[in-house]
């Protein structure tokens, strides 16, 4: 399989001297053709800067960027075979929706009739038939999102970059767009590089996830790998909820120097055979599960109990006994 995008020790520094900020710090990454790859990380972690360097809006301070095997490190955006769906959609307010979608063909001097037909075809593909003659301002946020998608896809790029495209949508629409985007990506076979800070989005859509923190890639792997076997404490805590135990508590409860225990792997049970006991200090109801916080000596442990299995949650302050399977414990590098 050829690499759609690869980054070779790419760094990007903003500012100079004492105020210099190293937004991206020596990132190596290979994204395969046809892959749905997600860069996941908190705001300010540098993931958007990586996308901007692939799109050509920011040039790397050092290192090289390859797209389809070609070194594009110093090429301007218009010379790169990638297109971007921007966070704020970046539609042209003075053009009709059809002209927006046809823009890439217009700059390539495709005749008007041909490019308008193609634009209407793309609009139908993103489930927006018949809005071509409207202005972007007359559309809802979700519709603008689809127009931006159609516009980015019309020139059939090798790689589509999506910069937190679903951030501005409400929950229901976001979930709908997630499955539509995934289906679209499978149908078109284009490589998607998706940027998000939402772990659910990353886990549910991606073939592989790269977890970003402080300008560095902490871990690259499938959603299962990243969730079940995080390599660092940051990944364990950022992707999903996690009990990260270290020191005496870790050794006593798990036999490791530092370990992660997912809350949903913990159950309540009788005192015999319990791995830990403690006082229930907080109960949060989430509908599909109930989150308990249990004060054990040396550590607060969080346990998520699925709805319908436990009946009524125990009283606050009562003593509860925690059980888990040995396989639920995942050792982390201490530190």
């Amino acid at each position: 399989m050829t690499a759609a995008v690869s980054l070779d020790r790419v760094s990007c520094t903003f500012g100079a001297g004492a105020q210099a900020v190293r937004a991206v710090d020596g990132v190596d990454l290979t994204i395969d053709a046809g892959e749905f790859f997600t860069l996941l990380g908190p705001s300010g972690s540098g993931k958007t800067t990586v996308l901007r360097m692939i799109g050509g809006f920011t040039l790397p301070t050092s290192g090289r960027v390859f797209i389809g095997g070609q070194d594009v490190s110093q090429l301007p955006p218009y010379a790169r075979p990638v297109n971007t769906v921007f966070q704020d959609y970046a539609l042209f307010p003075h053009m009709s929706v059809r002209d927006n979608v046809a823009y890439p063909l217009m700059v390539k001097k495709t005749p008007r009739a041909a490019r308008e037909a193609k634009a209407d075809e793309l609009l139908a593909q993103v489930q927006l038939p018949g809005v071509g003659s409207r202005r972007p301002a007359q559309l809802s946020g979700g519709q603008r999102q689809r127009v931006a998608l159609a516009r980015a896809l019309i020139s059939e790029p090798q790689v589509l970059l999506l910069d937190e495209p679903l951030g501005a949508l409400d929950l229901k629409l976001r979930e709908q767009m997630q499955s539509e985007l995934k289906a679209l990506q499978r149908r078109l076979g284009i490589t998607f590089l998706f940027i998000t800070h939402d772990q659910h989005e990353a886990l549910s859509m991606s073939d592989r996830i790269g977890v970003f923190n402080r300008g560095r890639l902490e871990q690259v792997g499938t959603p299962q790998q990243v969730y079940d076997t995080p390599t660092t404490r940051f990944v364990a805590q950022f992707v999903g909820a996690a009990n990260v135990l270290d020191g005496d508590a870790a050794r006593r409860l798990t036999g490791q120097d530092c370990a992660m225990l997912r809350p949903e792997r913990i159950t309540l049970g009788p005192s015999s055979g319990a791995r830990a006991e403690g006082q229930l200090s907080e109960v949060q109801y989430f509908g599909s599960f109930t989150r308990l916080k249990v004060q054990t000596p040396g550590a607060t442990v969080q346990a998520d109990l699925p709805a319908g299995l436990t009946g009524v949650a125990p009283e606050l302050g009562s003593t509860v006994h925690l059980h888990w399977d040995a396989s639920a414990v995942h050792a982390l590098a201490a530190g």
Binding site: P76, Y78, L91, V107
Partner: protein, 318 residues
């Protein structure tokens, strides 16, 4: 240390002073506040401004009795017939051509500066450019005008500079050009044009800058991302989105040039512009009806200009 309960804030409930009652009244009747704020300015515009405009319009239909020098209040069209005399038509044409030339030149000069100020200049540099554009407006118009008279004079700084650069021939060639030339820059239409452009340039820079500042950076990035070269981005995205600014600026430069009577009086070849004719007719000649009729010309020209600008879609991106 004060405790949290020992607070300085007095309870508001129940204290019904006159200010409080006024505030309640205004809160309950929003239109009262609106009236208080908009009333004076609407009165100004509605009565004083529009009123004098209609008085002007009415005067244009009266005529001056040549014998007594009194205004005869009878409706007639003699002033408009007089407007069609070749000398008057010539002045009107010269003024409109000058206004168009000044507007085009200001646009071409202002655009790169406004673009740089809006998209590239940061911090102290932006402040410095801002002040550089605004600074001329801090000093008197007449002072700047007479300063230009000195600069443009035959023995002035520009002619001296041309000599030092051995470019006197170029200046002479320009001055020998018919229609725009003259004995020196300060006595030529070219000089009038240079000073007009200088005087109104800030009025073009600022609106264009405001329009370009409003274009989101991502819009320009999207254009490049979708394959547009910088020139295509300029033509298809920047220019249309900056058009409302250009239109606003051009209304300033165009109407200021149409109405000005001082610049061509001080600098130029003593051919008359509309403003000068109006000024002389209402002042020296005391022919207010004819001055009124002539001052309708710029109003009509501006009206046509706005109509054309709207038809060209200059306000679509507003």
């Amino acid at each position: 240390m004060r405790s949290a309960s020992d607070t300085l804030i007095e309870p508001h409930v129940g204290a019904a002073g006159p200010l409080r009652r006024l505030s309640d009244l205004l809160y309950g009747h929003r239109w009262l506040l609106l009236l208080a704020l908009l009333g004076p300015v609407l009165l100004w515009f509605g009565v004083i401004y529009l009123g004098s405009l209609f008085a002007l319009l009415a005067n244009a239909f009266f005529r001056l009795d040549d014998f007594t020098g009194q205004v005869v209040r009878e409706v007639g069209f003699s002033n408009f017939v007089a407007l069609l005399e070749p000398a008057n038509l010539d002045s009107a044409r010269r003024t409109v051509v000058m206004a168009i030339a000044v507007t085009l030149t200001c646009t071409v000069l202002a655009f790169p500066l406004a673009f740089y100020m809006a998209r590239h200049a940061r911090g102290a540099q932006k402040a410095a450019l801002y002040i550089a554009v605004m600074l001329p407006l801090w000093s008197s118009y007449l002072v700047r005008l007479y300063a230009w008279k000195l600069l443009l004079a035959k023995e002035g700084a520009i002619s001296w500079l041309a000599q030092q650069l051995h470019a006197q021939w170029l200046l002479d060639a320009l001055l020998a050009t018919p229609a725009i030339g003259g004995p020196s820059l300060s006595f030529s239409t070219m000089g009038t044009f240079i000073v007009f452009v200088y005087m109104w340039l800030p009025f073009m820079v600022l609106p264009i800058m405001a329009a370009i500042e409003r274009i989101p950076a991502s819009t320009l990035e999207a254009s490049a991302d979708l394959g547009a070269h910088p020139a295509q981005t300029f033509r298809s995205v920047i220019l249309p989105l900056a058009m409302p600014g250009v239109a606003a600026g051009s209304i300033f430069t165009f109407s200021l040039t149409l109405g000005d009577y001082i610049i061509p009086q001080v600098i130029g070849d003593s051919t008359l512009y509309i403003g000068q004719i109006v000024y002389r007719q209402q002042g020296v000649a005391g022919n207010i009806p004819f001055a009124a009729a002539f001052s309708l010309v710029p109003i009509i020209v501006i009206g046509i200009y706005l109509w054309l600008a709207k038809r060209q879609g200059a306000f679509d991106a507003l």
